[in-house]
Amino acid sequence: MPIHENLTVDTPVADWLNPQELMTDPYPSYARLREAGDVVYAPALQSYLVPRYTALRETQLHPELFSVRSSDVNTMMERAFGGNRPMLRKDDPEHAVERQAINPTLRPRQIAQTWSPRFAQTVEHWIDHLLEVGPENADLNRDFAAPVASQNLIDLIGFPSEVHVDSLRRWSTDFIDGLSNVMSDPDIWARCDASRAEVNAVLDELIPHLRRHPDASITSHLLEVNLPEDVVRTNVMLTISGGMNEPQHMITNMVWALSTHPDQQRTVRAGEVSWGDAFEEVVRWVSPIGMAPREATADIEWFDAKIPQGATVGLLFASANRDDSVFPRADELDVTRNARGHLGFGTGVHQCAGRWAAKNAVGEVAVPRLYERIGSLMVDDSRQVSWQGWFFRGLTALPVTWD
């Protein structure tokens, strides 16, 4: 697909961009992309990348030019979810019907009243577990962040308590692997199909129950607006795919960020900066979602670049959040800055539906409670910390210790 041959000389080309380097540490490449321009063509990704803040925000605010209905992505998403496309891959007005169904249970007041007490119970349970594992062996990702994120998601989608945190994690991983199965690896499809069957088996029992006994869950809200059942199922699978890794990564990101910046940790723990503000700054500084794809609906002249119809456009959230023209000294963590307006959750109608749930569950419950109960919690430098990914980026291991 040599779409770059149609370009004028105006569009900068990042022929140096190396996906392997992105996987290890994307931030040096992001800095170079921001220097190159508002829209930069990357041959290695066959995509037009949008690395700066203002252009990215503008791009996301024009779904009529940059649609989420990308054909390549959708083919995989429909395959992964059993034939249907979830709301993330629909434009308005089609998307709005499904999105508005779940919004009422995800606004701040409902989060505080209904969900926060449950998030708090879960956190107590898994801090107990972390303490049992002990300061020699504890891995905050494995022993706390992953099960907490999983249980919170089980609760939010209204799945029964018999569903184990490890099952939901596995489903989420299998779906995500399926969504990015560009090589059509049969083993990945087999895992994805098996997980879809398990999720469908839970929904076979849950859906009739929720029709009789509606509750605050996302699944129940999707049913209440009379969406076809297959649409409900697909959106539950989307939620399982998209609602697990990011809160998990934000728990470990925050503890890692505060451990490596002890002065700022003191500032937050002394109450001089709210936990919520610290959460927003860490989302900006190390954003769990690095990129989201769009597809150009026409030949477009956009910020001094020419983008051909059908081209993939990559919105580089993690890069835009390091744009110095919007966030001075953007490469530095600074919990005292006002980080709101960052693009870690995206912007526009596809802004993350779970942004208030995540802020509460991670920023106002899990992490503050960790420090309340384990005051000397710190990264264990004698063991290996590891990061992975750029599309989705997070810590795969965060050894922690305490006195």
């Binding site: 999105r99 919004n103 109608v349 802004q351």
Partner: protein, 108 residues
């Protein structure tokens, strides 16, 4: 066309003439009016299109619905019980024939 006037803190004024059905937020964001963000795209999931409607235009407006009510508690500049609205929830033609609003100093 419906006239929307945005009064800024520094005394400056932006006036837009928009088509029926355009929300105050959409009109502002599309025209690059400073001080209106509209982070969630108009679904009352954020409070970054907060405006203060001028007194003389309040009477004709539809009442604040539950979702808007909830998000108005999350504005960065203090909520005014009478005048605060989310610009995404007010639609030209449907909700008003002309409107003047004050833009808060900040949305974050």
């Amino acid at each position: 066309m419906v006239k929307i006037s945005f009064h800024h803190r520094d005394g400056s004024l932006d006036v837009l003439n928009v088509d029926d059905g355009t929300s105050v937020m959409r009109a502002a964001v599309t025209s690059g009016i400073a001080g209106i963000v509209g982070e969630c795209g108009g679904q009352a999931m954020c409070a970054t299109c907060h405006i203060y409607v001028r007194e003389e235009y309040l009477d004709v407006l539809p009442p604040v619905r539950h979702d808007e009510e909830e998000m108005l508690d999350c504005t960065t500049e203090p909520r005014d019980e009478r005048r605060s609205r989310l610009a995404c929830q007010l639609s030209a033609g449907r909700d008003f024939e002309a409107i003047e609003v004050d833009v808060p100093a900040t949305q974050f």
